[in-house]
């Protein structure tokens, strides 16, 4: 009993430290937490949107197209049609943009960073809020600015979903889609980026119940064995 309480206390301390101890970025902008399910449907939807709207500039250089087949249960045809958008894409090779980085820097003002690990680096809250914080700013070269990332060189790719707002939040041009679809598009992107930053999450969640279940059985057996011997003592 005492041991279980002690372990519980320890676990609680670890969880407390995990939540409050890690590095977070304190911004003036309040970061919103996306509400989404992480499953194959949301990841694939997000991935298709990414391939069609983001892959032109942002590579995902650690994700090979063929791993989408094993991780997400897709076939080669589907992947070729929906994901392999850049010119020169090869099935066994990674999701790279067709845009040469030096030219990208010249055309866009900065080289669009590789986004494979972005969800781990920035955090999903940051990316979600960032995607939804674009506002119209005639002083920038693209006409877009962002509350979360001031003077960012990236334009608002999602403008048809978000509509065009000014820095106070006033709507200049309405969105072509409703807010539900806007929410879904952004959360799907988050799901996709969450997946790419650590694709092992799919296998981990699949095997976890078996591994932990096995270890619990082992621990119980070991405890019974211990108790059988320790009857001698005391």
């Amino acid at each position: 009993m005492k041991t279980i309480l002690r372990i519980g206390l320890l676990a609680g301390a670890v969880i407390f430290a995990a939540i409050y101890g890690g590095t977070t970025y304190a911004d003036e902008v309040q970061l919103q937490t996306p509400k989404y399910q992480l499953n194959k449907e949301t990841i694939v939807r997000g991935g298709i949107f990414f391939a069609q709207n983001c892959l032109a500039c942002h590579s995902m250089k650690y994700i090979r197209y063929n791993r989408l087949a094993t991780d997400l249960g897709l076939d080669k045809k589907f992947i070729t049609r929906n994901f392999m958008t850049p010119k020169g894409a090869e099935y066994l090779r990674a999701m790279k943009t067709a845009m040469p980085p030096e030219l990208a820097a010249r055309w866009l003002g900065a080289t669009p960073p590789d986004l494979t690990l972005a969800a781990r680096y920035r955090g999903t809250d940051w990316i979600y809020t960032y995607l939804r914080s674009f506002y119209w700013d005639p002083d920038t070269s693209t006409g877009w600015n962002n509350h979360v990332f001031p003077d960012v060189a990236m334009p608002n790719i999602l403008f048809s979903y978000s509509g065009t707002v000014d820095d106070k939040g006033q709507v200049i041009k309405k969105a072509s889609y409703n807010s539900q679809e806007y929410d879904q598009k952004t959360t799907d992107l988050i799901a996709w980026m969450r997946y790419t930053s650590d694709p092992s999450i799919i296998v981990r969640r699949q095997i976890a119940p078996y591994v932990i279940g096995f270890l619990v059985i082992f621990t119980i057996l070991a405890y019974l064995l211990k108790r059988a011997y320790w009857r001698d003592v005391h």
């Binding site: 791993r67 082992f218 019974l224 064995l225 059988a228 011997y229």
Partner: protein, 212 residues
Amino acid sequence: MSAKQDKDEKDSESETLDRKELSKRRFLTAATAAVGTAGIGVVAVPFVKSLEPDAAASAASVVTVDISGIPPGGHITTSWQQKPLIIVRRTPEMLATLNQVTAMLKDPDNKVPQQPSYAQNIYRSRKPEWLVMMQVCTHLCCSPAYDPEKGSVTPTWLGGFFCACHGSRYDLSGRVMHGSPAPTNMVVPDYTFIDGEKSVQITGLEKKSKLC
């Protein structure tokens, strides 16, 4: 005397308790050991698998070669998995010689599986014009020279490959000739044509084939 009797009684009591306890301990020890060993065995699997060629190595094994610039009668040599690969665009005259050398060949019908099934013909290729082959002598792994010129290696030479290391000779489809120390025809890898005949993509080797 009575103390000894008491002691004996106690001993026999504890003996029966011990026997039950003993078998329980033995069972639990065996069970825990078995489960533990099984666990270690299962955990060892991913560690061993991590030593297998990774996705990068598998991807590197797929190579695309641009053949659009080869004229008829021409060839290019390149490498695949650090081994020499030759692609020859054979002319009709060269293809005609393939039927003339049958008696000189150890395995004219490609019975030994040194090529994919679509290459089990006298051309040893998908399309008669194109030879795609690993330029590795099946004797001891040297790279045989490509000698298409008639009469170049011997006065009756119709064209093929000659290995300078130990004198193995092959025809223009890489089939080994009698009198050569090499035992089998040179290996034709698994390949496909891309974009009509603009490039060839090498994807691997037939499982049973042996380079050298």
